[in-house]
Symmetry: D2
Subunit: 314 residues, 4 copies
């Protein structure tokens, strides 16, 4: 398993949804950046469930602690260890389906790959792991904001509240799209060939659970455009990168999320013996994962740009 992201600004996340805690180790952060638990908490609170009817009613308190790397309120250049304890776990919800592979989940492939699985709440493949990314990403975005004036803004695309509410009432779920704007990104970021800015953004976004697509600039729409249209000076159809390198123009991306696989509706499922049965997934799940995802999207984008920023130092 490879839970390390980044080349110079590296983030190692760890932890299962129903274990003792989750966390991240951030290595490579420059010294002298002011960071506090209160600052990081603001971003975790944006991701936290239970804030409206549109999200799960689980009460994850998600309180972050900084265990290392910060001295007298400032980063020292050493690894920053972030920890979030797990509380309010309903492991019992999972007991009755521990032998069933939840459809649309990684249960079956985990069993196949590792021969062994923490069946409670998805274990490592739980979206809860993204809290650690948000905590890590908050450090990157603070650095980029202070140093370069860069800001990250992700929004759920369209007015989908009604559709979400309908899905929830039906014991069902629905997908969604998130628009990401990176305002005032540093210019000259990105390495030609494999580590292009858009390639690393695509990887970062598709590493978020439930994502199925990524676009930059005109995205799939570009396929229908003429060169004479797409090229037009000053119109930023490319979405802020050329040949993988940022021009300093705003970066525009879109990310597609599939519907939450955990639904309470009865659905067909396989078990370890290959038998087909019917299950209903209890527990408290988001009817639309995209609703809580904007801060995750912003955080992953910040990690990408932070790493490229360090790699571009001259």
């Amino acid at each position: 398993m490879s839970s390390v992201f980044g080349k110079l600004f590296t983030v190692s996340t760890w932890g299962e949804s129903h274990g003792k805690a989750i966390g991240a180790v951030v290595d490579g952060c420059p010294s002298g950046l002011e960071i506090s638990e209160e600052y990081i908490q603001v971003f975790l609170d944006r991701r936290r469930p239970g804030q409206s009817m549109l999200t799960t009613q689980r009460k994850e308190s998600d309180k972050v602690k900084i265990l290392s790397g910060v001295f007298e309120g400032k980063t020292t250049g050493t690894p920053i260890s972030l920890i979030i304890e797990n509380i309010d776990q309903h492991s019992a919800d999972y007991e009755q389906i521990k032998n069933w592979y939840r459809p649309g989940h990684a249960d079956e492939v985990y069993d196949s790959k590792y021969g062994f699985r923490d069946y409670r709440g998805g274990g490592r493949s739980s979206a809860r792991e993204t809290a650690a990314r948000v905590a890590a990403g908050s450090i990157a975005r603070k650095f980029l904001s202070e140093k370069c004036g860069t800001e990250f803004e992700a929004l759920v695309c369209g007015e989908i509240q009604t559709a979400i509410e309908a899905a929830r009432k039906n014991g069902d779920s629905i997908g969604g799209i998130i628009n990401l704007t990176i305002k005032n990104p540093p210019k000259n970021l990105g390495e030609p060939i494999f580590d292009r800015t858009e390639a690393l953004l695509a990887m970062a976004m598709l590493s978020i659970p439930a994502t199925k697509g990524f676009e930059i600039g005109e995205g799939f729409n570009a396929a229908k455009m003429l060169g004479s249209e797409h090229n037009k000076l000053g119109e930023n159809h490319a979405g802020g990168t050329y040949g993988g390198i940022t021009s300093g123009e705003d970066i525009f991306c879109r990310i597609a999320f599939k519907p939450t696989p955990s639904i309470s509706q009865i659905q067909k499922a396989k078990n370890k013996n290959g038998e087909i049965g019917e299950i209903s997934i209890k527990g408290r799940h988001d009817p639309c994962v995209a609703v809580r995802a904007p801060v995750i999207v912003e955080s992953m984008a910040a990690l990408v740009l932070m790493d490229l920023w360090l790699r571009n130092l001259k």
Copy 2:
């Protein structure tokens, strides 16, 4: 610049479109695989321009030579050095626009980032670099085909010949979409969290010049689906991966390409002094980059799966 791809099966590409040669070093290929220059050449010939009116009329002979890593017809486990000499270069075509930044190209950002640029044909950011990837990818696909029965098939989506022809006559260009199917992929590939199969495929695809979007399974369409639909057993809406791990089902992806930025139509452009002028790009360019791209898409997919296959050994 980071021109190294992969963790265990690593590919380092090098070379500019108008330099002496381009090439790749493939490190980490298991020993004992039969490889010949003739075998690799078949894939390079698929990428080669000049094969129809729909592609550029440049005559790139693209003859590959194996300089190391193969002994008595088989890989030895040592680095495989592949070289393709550059011939039929019309460097003079670029002399007259050397001070202009071609719109939609990386010219301006390269100058900004490196302070220095080989202005002939895009230099390193030229699509010619992808020939080296195709050569490297052909080794990965042979291994996966023999060992696992995996096959890669990419096709341009839709009947776009008329639109391409119209664009070409206008001195313009057009975008396109490529559908990629990976048949019979090894199961259990992919590392949870950051190195998910779809994340690495997204990165690989967005590292191909002119790409603007990536989808797996239902892709952006998944955003409109209900969980009860998307989850359905046996319907493979996910596109062959769950939680980033391959299930053994076929993998389906789509990749969006923007229109070729090099067009002969007169268009507005900036120069080094920030002045706006008008240029017409001479040279022989593809009216639609997607036409020659399928073999590149297949090659990058093969590199991703080969690396994950080695990482999954137990």
Copy 3:
């Protein structure tokens, strides 16, 4: 700062000697290995100070907790987070020398490199960080012992108790040499060229604080030997590797440690203003770092072989 070790079996350590805790995240451990806090504790106890007059009288309880990656007593294949809380810290000991750079320590270069430093006890450069390595290494050695029958044994070279005792009484310190034997190592480990077994062992050993030299096989003595002697079949002058690859024969290494730089004798030191003064380092320090180092040496060797073992899977 790069606190990540290994390519497939990666260890990220974090924590300062006088912060809240130290720890390690171990990523890439195969699933199904039995691991418990009690098992790991045995190795930490070997490293723990305060066990004899020959070591510091600090009482580091060094109790390890496993926060993730182990379910029902077995590794799940997910990252294993290990944490050791810091207690019994005498930060006040460092207040009076906070503006002085301790001779032979990293104080001055840390200030120069990071512009900022946790002056309590060496911060990140403290030997306390090695407790996290020992915890991580204990997992690697258990795997190698069970899977391959490999054992690691490091011993202080020579009868140096009298010299240590003399140094201690003088408020001074002394260096030492450790002999490492790896019994029954897996064969065929090591990657030719840069990642040779001995190159990675050398790196691992020289990454332990206070180390100044590394030898394998005959080491420096080989420089005086004839080829006809060194080559002799069955005599293992090489120390168990050829061209960087393990032959399966026992591996023999020696590691040199300098004397502990922290001594209570009055010595000359520089301060931040470049002035020279005299300081006496209070606190409880080992008169010979080599005494507690064998388990650290064994742990680092286990991390190297574990990573190479995973890389050698076919």
Copy 4:
């Protein structure tokens, strides 16, 4: 096989001693550095055999060609591909011992690891591969010399010509020690914990064929010293690094080389069937590998410092 060295300044070497060519791809070199084939050739000529009775009488012309990454005499920031064609190969010398494992060589472990081997001249494990490192290293040292005034000087330790001559006449070989001085190194290089300057130097040196030991500063002698002696301000017993970070003082290292394993004296050897026989190794071999090694040692040191220099940019 992992033939990639470095994190930001990466060098991938390729090629066998008796294949068509050997070479290196250098990725990550800043743009604007003046580099020519003539400049690199000077260093290759220092490594070249056949210059005195003390070295092998093979005539390797070792002419380097730059295939990419340099435009109008300056690096462009893109990968620099270096190639050296193999000529004057006496493959026939190896035919008669192709089924015998030369003692002290990697022949047996290669066969065991890869199941397949280019038996001519050691193939990939041949010291000829180091020519590619020297070519790559010459670029790093030029950069460091111009930017930081750093110089690398390695010398064979002691007056060993008589011993070499005696060994040669006997059809035998002898080992040697090389002293490396890095004058005026950049300060603040090195990453605490695993990527310490001395750890990376140790790895780099032990990756050179036939090396068996590495020391920095007082090295093994430090084991016998007192803290009060070793600490002394202004005496640089540490050899230029503290806690893994360069202080700007000169760096002193020593590297031990074993005797050349290829000797013409009759010696016992094993073959593929495990039988013991007697062989005499024909061909033209150095009686002491250390004689031609200084430029290799300097080159590897330059690669380490160059990579750390890039990683230290702020």
